[in-house]
């Protein structure tokens, strides 16, 4: 009887173990039905909105901070809509005496943006709104190690002064805002204010910016903000979607300036204060970051439902792609990108070249979403270089020949698993000025044959090369082969295949390509000083306007002209192109603007300062229980729209992760079986040693 009871208890124990999940990396996964599990591979360095400019940082803070405007989540082409303001900003154009003028007036000197704030917006609960916490004693600080250790928290209404305060913070040079120098060109009085306030900041550790004013930024009342811009700058509206223009409450700024909190890593850089759908409940950038739904979030609806849908988001640090991928397949992450190691497992490519999910993924109910990124990765010619640069017919032909020979389609297929499209111009799809089909085809590199884009034959490239003075890659002048230099930071063994491929593209024309591998600092230095001949570079859109791409080729931005600070790294300077750029820069999207953009693209295509390279395509996978996902590459505050069905998730996780107990049974049996022979062997050994000693 006793034996029977023991066996029964053992069986119950084993069956209980069998019923539970052992390998869950999340605690209480059964109870976390409204939680999204996500990951990050690089700990965010800056969560301070005036400093942060990286996508991994914006993925977090865009859910917390609310600038005045946002991108519509589902509309394409991208459309701006009010976020914390009642309606889109009113823009008034002024002359030098601040009198109102027409938008197209030649007397236009300023543009005034008037923003009317909503009155129902409140900050997340935060200790900085409690007065006594803004001057903590050393005794009070003893028990504080995270922001959650404060017993009380408060809130208050969002005011226009908070936006004004944020712009003043941006002006403080010691806070290192990456857009300060750019914004100084536009916001009236920002430059003077920045010089003045930065001098004050040098003398003090605690700076209350309420006492100081910027000429062009004024809170008229609690709900009205006026920003005056020099001249006309329609792209300013796009800047108003970015976190640089998110509100900062003065209480929070003063609270975080306490040296005791700074020593404990409690700063605006680690714990944001926002009005957004979420607040940062835990910040351990080396392990885990947790966002929770902001209880004070204002009313916002999406397709008739109140936002946000997800109540909590747990981001775990995953530095390696293999564990991340395996945890996604087990259901412990709700979405995942596709690393090159997992590509074949996740994606199947049909005979027509179309990408689809593999059978394994489909069986699990996984879905795929993909979109072309508003980015470009190109190979640049240094236009100030004596061999590949210059604007003569011969120089043009040399660059055109090389551009034809670079088989970007092959590059995308080999090195990017087909995740990209060959670029025809600097402007990527989705941005005004991008043209499809024949109209968007670069006639220098491609032919349009039977409704398809076909790269020109190599013979055309060879002919152009001969006309450039290098028949079969041999210089007519010197009789020596043409040798070009490609500067790169790719020097590891993994990059060898890519470098070999690059060499082969040039070899097709008889040109020798020498790879000059260098470290990142030296590489950057060479580009800034215009010493590199050929190099790869890229650009990610700040905002969906062609100006944000065409300025990469504007002569005024050439690095050699700007002491290395410009963004035109190829040093391209064409007066016609520059003149057109200055015109389209401040134009609103219209057929007239499109015509001018087309003209600019044609000029650049002919000059070929870049081998146009590729626009990458991002693919992401998500489980059946994760919904409301639309690929919007410009919007960053999209978490509030997404939905999770926690019941389905737990069902699937239990189904996919039942522990396999047989190996344990086999191991125990093995131990039992081996113990007796081992014991006998030991006894034999003991006897043998005693025998030897005798």
């Amino acid at each position: 009887m006793q034996y029977f009871i023991k066996t029964l208890i053992l069986l119950l124990f084993i069956s209980n173990l069998y019923g539970t999940i052992w390998n869950s990396p999340h605690t209480d996964i059964n109870e976390k039905k409204e939680t999204l599990f996500s990951s990050f591979s690089l700990p965010p360095k800056h969560l301070d909105p005036v400093v942060s400019y990286s996508s991994n940082e914006w993925a977090i803070i865009s859910q917390i901070y609310e600038p005045p405007l946002q991108y519509n989540y589902i509309k394409l082409p991208y459309e701006l809509e009010p976020l914390t303001i009642k309606e889109m900003p009113t823009i008034i154009y002024l002359d030098k005496n601040k009198n109102s003028v027409e938008e197209n007036s030649t007397h236009l000197v300023y543009s005034k943006y008037i923003l009317k704030l909503r009155t129902d917006i409140k900050y997340q609960p935060h200790p900085s709104f409690i007065k006594k916490y803004r001057s903590l004693s050393s005794k009070e600080l003893e028990n504080i190690s995270t922001i959650n250790d404060f017993k009380k928290s408060g809130t208050r209404e969002l005011k226009a002064q908070d936006y004004e305060y944020a712009i003043k913070r941006m002006a403080v040079r010691q806070y290192h805002s990456p857009i300060l120098d750019n914004m100084q060109q536009y916001i009236l009085g920002l430059k003077e204010f920045s010089t003045y306030i930065s001098k004050i900041k040098k003398k003090t550790d605690k700076l209350d910016l309420r006492k100081y004013n910027i000429k062009g930024v004024k809170a008229i009342d609690d709900y009205t903000l006026e920003i005056t811009i020099k001249g006309k700058y329609p792209q300013f509206l796009y800047w108003l979607t970015m976190n640089f223009f998110a509100p900062i409450p003065w209480e929070g700024d003063l609270f975080y300036q306490q040296s005791g909190l700074i020593k404990k890593n409690i700063t605006l850089n680690t714990y944001p204060i926002g009005t957004g759908a979420y607040y940062l409940a835990k910040n351990n950038p080396n392990q885990e970051m947790i966002l929770k739904a902001n209880p004070n979030f204002h009313t916002e609806y999406f397709q008739g439902e109140k936002l946000p849908f997800i109540k909590e988001v747990i981001y775990s640090l995953e530095k390696e792609s293999i564990p991340l991928w395996n945890k996604f397949l087990q259901g412990y992450y709700d979405a995942s990108g596709i690393s090159s190691e997992a590509f074949d497992q996740a994606v199947s490519i049909s005979s027509t070249g179309d990408m689809g999910l593999s059978d394994e993924m489909r069986k699990k109910g996984i879905k795929m979403s993909g979109s072309i990124q508003p980015s470009i990765f190109y190979l640049a010619f240094n236009m100030s270089d004596k061999v590949v640069g210059g604007y003569s017919k011969k120089a043009q032909k040399l660059r055109q020949a090389i551009s034809i020979a670079q088989n970007e389609e092959e590059y995308i297929s080999i090195f990017m698993n087909g995740r990209g499209i060959p670029a025809q111009s600097p402007i990527p799809p989705g941005i005004f000025g991008y043209q499809k089909a024949k109209e968007g085809t670069n006639p220098i590199i491609y032919d349009w044959i039977k409704g398809k884009r076909v790269r020109k034959p190599l013979e055309v490239a060879k002919k152009l090369l001969a006309e450039a003075g290098y028949p079969n890659g041999i210089s007519k002048k010197t009789g020596k082969p043409l040798v070009l230099y490609y500067d790169t930071t790719s020097s590891g063994p993994d990059d060898r295949a890519l470098m070999d491929w690059r060499r082969k593209q040039f070899e097709k024309l008889g040109i020798q390509l020498l790879i000059r591998a260098t470290d990142y600092n030296r590489f950057q230095d060479k580009i800034r000083k215009g010493k590199a001949q050929l190099f790869s570079w890229g650009w990610n859109a700040d905002y969906p306007d062609p100006e944000n791409f065409l300025f990469l080729l504007y002569g005024g931005n050439a690095v050699v002209n700007t002491n290395g600070a410009g963004i035109n790294s190829s040093n391209y300077q064409n007066p016609k192109f520059d003149k057109l750029f200055e015109e389209i820069k401040t134009m609103k999207n219209s057929p007239k603007r499109l015509e001018k953009i087309k003209e600019m693209i044609a000029i650049a295509q002919k000059d070929s300062p870049w081998i146009w390279g590729i626009h990458p395509k991002s693919l992401s996978l998500y489980h059946s229980w994760f919904s409301n996902i639309f690929p919007n590459t410009m919007a960053n505050n999209t978490l509030k729209y997404k939905k999770i069905d926690g019941k389905i998730r737990i069902q699937k996780i239990e189904e996919w992760n039942k522990p396999i107990l047989m190996p344990i049974v086999i191991f125990i049996l093995f131990l039992v079986l081996i113990s007796y022979p081992l014991y006998r062997a030991y006894q034999n050994r003991q006897r043998a040693i005693i025998g030897e000693e005798k």
């Binding site: 990396p25 040079r173 990456p178 700074i262 890593n265 080396n286 392990q287 395996n326 600070a565 030991y682």
Partner: protein
């Protein structure tokens, strides 16, 4: 012994100054303060004004070793090297170039590293010594030969293989433990069990071979024969007589690493998502964060010196003939 320890601590000071000097020279040979500023400020739109402001705020606008603009002793003291070194010697690691308190970060990341390193170390030593003694017991047998072949095989394979294989077998196929992650407190057990097992297993090959050869040198000595003559069992002979006498060379290699266990393991922590110190230095080198690099190199040197002192002390515990003075 106290005099000896004080003497060793005093010797450590010039060593630490030297290490610090080399760190400064090597780092600034590869990176200029301008490069560091560019990395910290982000590469998209960095202007010369931003670079100057950053350098001024962080103190990188000062000369490295000699300040030609200063007078008197300030020529030496008003330099980056002296200003930063003084703080280090008072164990004030200051703030990283991305404005985080380094001391706080080290404190926070040390425990997860220890959660893997300490059990791996203890279980590893016990397992390796036991296995080595087992092989000494069965020396010359098929078991000994085959175990030696297995040991060579284990040490020939990269630890990365064990990590990936372990994750696939125990986590992905059998669903026993999480693939990666971490929790503080007792919740950490399910996350650290696999990395500990793998850490122990990966170390078996080299350690067992080494310990076995040490014990084999001792096994035919007179005191072992005397112990056997007393009629002791072979297990008693091995553990009570052979082991204490064979410990001295083992201690040389083992005690020195005890303090450095805090520093964690780069690959293990990366693959298992353990938020330890393993990648702290490497990440800082990649980010050109000199404040962290110098702090970690300094801390590593201090811990290594402590390890060497502990080794010397441990000799006196295992061999009464050794006197420190």
């Amino acid at each position: 012994m106290l005099t000896y320890i004080i003497k060793r601590i005093l010797y450590a000071i010039p060593i630490l100054i030297g290490v610090n000097l080399i760190t400064f020279m090597l780092f600034f040979m590869v990176n200029t303060p301008d490069d560091m500023a560019r990395i910290q400020l982000g590469a998209k739109q960095v202007t010369p004004q931003m670079i100057e402001a950053w350098k001024e705020q962080k103190g990188y606008n000062k000369p490295l070793f000699i300040n030609p603009k200063a007078t008197g002793i300030d020529k030496i003291t008003d330099t980056l090297f002296v200003q930063e070194s003084i703080k280090l010697f008072s164990f004030d690691f200051g703030f990283s170039d991305s404005n985080r308190n380094i001391g706080e970060d080290i404190k926070q990341r040390m425990m997860p590293s220890l959660a893997i390193a300490l059990p791996s170390f203890i279980i590893g030593i016990v397992t390796n010594i036991s296995l080595a003694l087992l092989l000494v017991l069965f020396r010359g047998s098929i078991l000994d030969t085959s175990m030696m072949i297995v040991a060579v095989m284990i040490m020939s394979i990269s630890s990365l293989f064990y990590i990936i294989a372990g994750q696939i077998i125990f986590s992905k196929l059998w669903h026993w433990v999480p693939i990666s992650g971490y929790e503080s407190g007792w919740g950490a057990i399910k996350f650290v069990i696999l990395p500990i097992m793998i850490g122990v297993f990966a170390g078996i090959g080299s350690s067992v071979r080494w310990y076995r050869s040490i014990f084999l040198e001792e096994i035919n000595k007179d005191y072992i024969r005397t112990a056997r003559a007393k009629g002791l069992s072979e297990i008693s002979v091995l553990f009570k007589h052979l082991l204490p006498n064979g410990m001295l060379p083992i201690l040389t290699g083992v005690v020195v690493i005890i303090p450095t266990l805090f520093m964690g393991s780069l690959i293990m922590e990366s693959f298992f998502g353990i938020p330890g110190l393993g990648s702290y230095t490497i990440d800082a080198i990649k980010a050109q964060d000199f404040a962290i690099v110098k702090a970690m190199v300094f801390l590593g040197s201090v811990l290594y010196i402590i390890g060497l002192i502990l080794t010397d002390i441990s000799y006196t515990l295992f061999d009464p003939r050794v006197k420190l003075g």
